[in-house]
């Protein structure tokens, strides 16, 4: 095998290893499904989320199923660095593991009309 081919193979192996590491990192960052997964469906419409208050447990993975009843809305939960677009007819799933307790506000960050400013709700994380 020529030196050029050896170098080429070495680069391929290194690239593959890098890709593998990257994929592993992404997978490990996502919470694994558990039997006690907290699945909460949230409906968005002008200009509210239903339910407007949700409570979850710290350390237990959460899946939020976001649906819009009318138009394009947003979901932004800065405390956990989460955001999503919510379009009518699509269930947008947001998964995370709450790692701190407290009350946190999430809100619509897509201008949706007169009342947009008031479109927010509360996530409470308990022990």
């Amino acid at each position: 095998m020529s030196m050029k081919k050896i170098l080429h193979h070495a680069l391929l192996i290194a690239a593959s290893a890098g890709l593998f590491l990257q994929q592993t990192a992404i997978q490990s960052a996502a919470p694994e499904m558990r039997n006690d997964e907290q699945v909460i469906r949230i409906s968005a419409s002008t200009f509210e989320y239903k339910p407007s208050e949700i409570t979850v447990k710290r350390g237990v993975p959460v899946t939020l199923e976001l649906m819009s009843q009318d138009r394009h809305h947003g979901f932004k939960l800065s405390a956990f660095q989460l955001r999503a677009d919510i379009q009518p007819g699509v269930v947008e799933k947001v998964r995370f593991v709450p790692d701190k307790i407290g009350k946190f506000t999430f809100f619509c960050d897509v201008f949706c009309g007169d009342g947009h400013e008031d479109m927010s709700a509360t996530l409470t994380v308990i022990e």
Partner: protein, 298 residues
């Protein structure tokens, strides 16, 4: 007595008072000196929200804009132009009402003596229909104009309801700036803050950092904007950002309360927190002197 003082006095007579004087160390000289250094001034009005109805917030919602127009008309020396930095009208889902409000707004501001008026959209004007109605009444969503050696760039960060300028407009901005000299005097007019003032209060532009990065190589850039309904001053590097008051309601200081909410009308202090500003452009020095005016009982 300087022209500046003349205007102040006249504004007081017209029922307006000087609230704050910001960032200026120079006092304007007489007319001949102004021409020599090409200095001029313009008026910035913002967030007029024509069509808003909320007696607890502004019981004079039908009169505040008209008072501001009268006050500008009462200025001893008329500005070179007037600029409205967005949210001309209160948003509505009704296409006809949206257009009615825009027509009414246009009729009211047509009473300004100065006929050079520059408009831009706010999210209330343009986010629900991507600026269709706005463009019918007021023209392009982003554009440039030049005045006495200053290059003005109007940026649209509202017709995308996700509060972004967008890649296409960014490329347009880059192409425009490539034509500028390094020492060009540039004023960016926009609605939302380009920096992350309070993202959880919707006081940011999603790709504002890219805009600022694009502007940063030029040494003489100032940004004037609205949206946050209060006077605010901020620096990103050498670029100054100045927010203007509203002419409909005031909002609390960023992050000062848990939830952003309109500040209720105070019978003891009517029009508190509302106002407009004069901007003196000292072109030779690349400096801008801002005078804030409040609306008082009148």
């Amino acid at each position: 007595m300087s022209d500046l003082m003349n205007r102040r006095d006249l504004l007081k007579l017209a029922g307006m008072g000087v609230a704050v004087f910001v960032s200026g160390t120079t006092v304007r000289a007489g007319g001949s000196a102004q021409k020599k250094d090409e200095s001029f001034y313009f008026v910035q009005l913002s967030d007029t929200h024509w069509g808003f109805n909320g007696p607890n917030i502004n019981p004079d919602s039908q009169g505040t804009l008209k008072k501001a127009v009268a006050a500008v008309n009462a200025l001893d020396e008329q500005p070179d132009f007037v600029v409205f930095t967005g949210d001309l009208t209160q948003t509505t889902d009704d296409r006809k009402i949206r257009r009615d409000r825009m027509a009414e707004f246009r009729d009211i501001v047509s009473q300004l003596k100065i006929k050079t008026v520059r408009f831009m959209a706010g999210e209330h004007d343009a986010s629900l229909d991507r600026g269709d109605a706005y463009q019918e009444f007021f023209g392009d969503l982003h554009y440039t104009f030049d005045h006495n050696g200053v290059h003005f760039i109007v940026l649209d960060n509202v017709s995308d309801p996700m509060a972004a300028v967008g890649e296409k407009q960014l490329q347009w901005l880059q192409a425009d700036l490539q034509q500028m000299k390094n020492d060009s005097r540039i004023v960016v007019l926009t609605h939302r803050p380009l920096f992350d003032l309070a993202p959880d209060w919707d006081w940011a532009t999603r790709d504002g950092a890219a805009v600022i990065d694009t502007l940063m190589p030029l040494p003489n850039v100032t940004v004037l904007y609205g949206h946050i309904h209060q006077e605010h001053h901020h620096m990103t590097g050498h670029i100054a950002h100045h927010a203007a008051k509203s002419l409909m309601w005031a909002l609390p200081e960023p992050g000062s309360v848990p939830k952003k909410a309109q500040i209720p009308w105070s019978a003891a202090e009517p029009y508190k927190g509302l106002g407009f500003r004069n901007v003196e452009a000292e072109v030779a020095q690349a400096q801008y002197e801002i005078e804030e005016f409040s609306i008082s009982r009148g």
